[in-house]
Amino acid sequence: MTPTRKRRLIAVALILGAVGIATALTVFALQQNMTYLYTPSEILAGKVPEGARFRIGGMVKDQSIERGQSLTVAFVVTDGDGDMRVEYEGILPDLFREKQSVIATGSMQGDRFVATEVLAKHDENYVPRDVAEAMGKAHAKHVKPKE
């Protein structure tokens, strides 16, 4: 084997080895929750450690918004399977409404989630109002539990 060829072989072997190790570590990493975004049912299942600051994601439950004095507000976030009461004080985004996806940051205090920030997440669907109403009537029962 010529020296050049040997050198090239070693380089290729090294690169393949590195890619292999990197892939293995990535596969391990992907099995963990890294976004720290939990759904209400995950919280109820005890997947969030005590006292942790994390983000909760889900849909604002229909007719659950209670506005208190000044800017305090309480609502229930649901993922279809579990409900979690969220309390927040501050200005809410325009999109915040019932049946809207939200992401709130905060921590558990007892059995309720106290948020320091509430952001509204809109989906990637864009539909004219009348079309949405027509669709809404047709699929009134189909609440997407995914978000």
Binding site: P93, L95, H122, R129
Partner: protein, 252 residues
Amino acid sequence: MNKLTLWFHTLGSPPYFHRLAGRLAPWLFAGAVLFAAAGLYGGLVVAPPDYQQSDAYRIIFVHVPSAWMSLFIYFVMAVNAFIALVWRIKLAEVLAMACAPIGAAFTVITLATGAIWGKPMWGTWWTWDARLTSELVLLFLYLGVIGLYQAIEDRRQAARAAAFLALIGIVNVPIVHFSVKWWNTLHQGSTVRLLGPSAIDASMLWPLLLVALATKLWFVASLLVRARVELLALEGGKEWARAEAQRAEGTP
């Protein structure tokens, strides 16, 4: 020499490219303005309000095409950078370097309009989620390529060094694109998909595609104009460049 390489060499000859680009660019610009006007009219006037976001969603018509371009241009830049580094073709170096400012412009538009859109809808100008952060890194990469290109005295060497940086930065492009898939973040997923049905009503889709087409044409036009100037500066000592300078004196 086969036909393809012959064609490539003719096109790669600076005076020929200069002439061709000078002839094409105005038409491309005109087309871009025409399509953009039609698309924006369709988006801002004709298209109905969204059921969730009402009229605020109309920012999509400038935000999304710019975002596509910010990634697309980086890809074009990296391809040219690769060609420049491997085959040392001058035109490829020039094209790669001409991509950077245009890409940076579209990235700035994407970030600015995104922030403006985020404020009323999400409730924040900025959030450090994966999509936004990686797009910001994309801007830094563009600026790094421009900065490196400006900083080195020898133009060819500067182009090669900056092209190398551009190639390293290509890692970021898939991260930007797939960030909404890989991380569940505030930014919504892709609306318009190449495969499968798009998640946008047809009445809103056609203006979006028109503006997207306009930005593509604009990119090509701007690329040609910028590459043209760069070639002129690079080949200042050559006969054709001198002739061009004399010819342009009469028509300022």
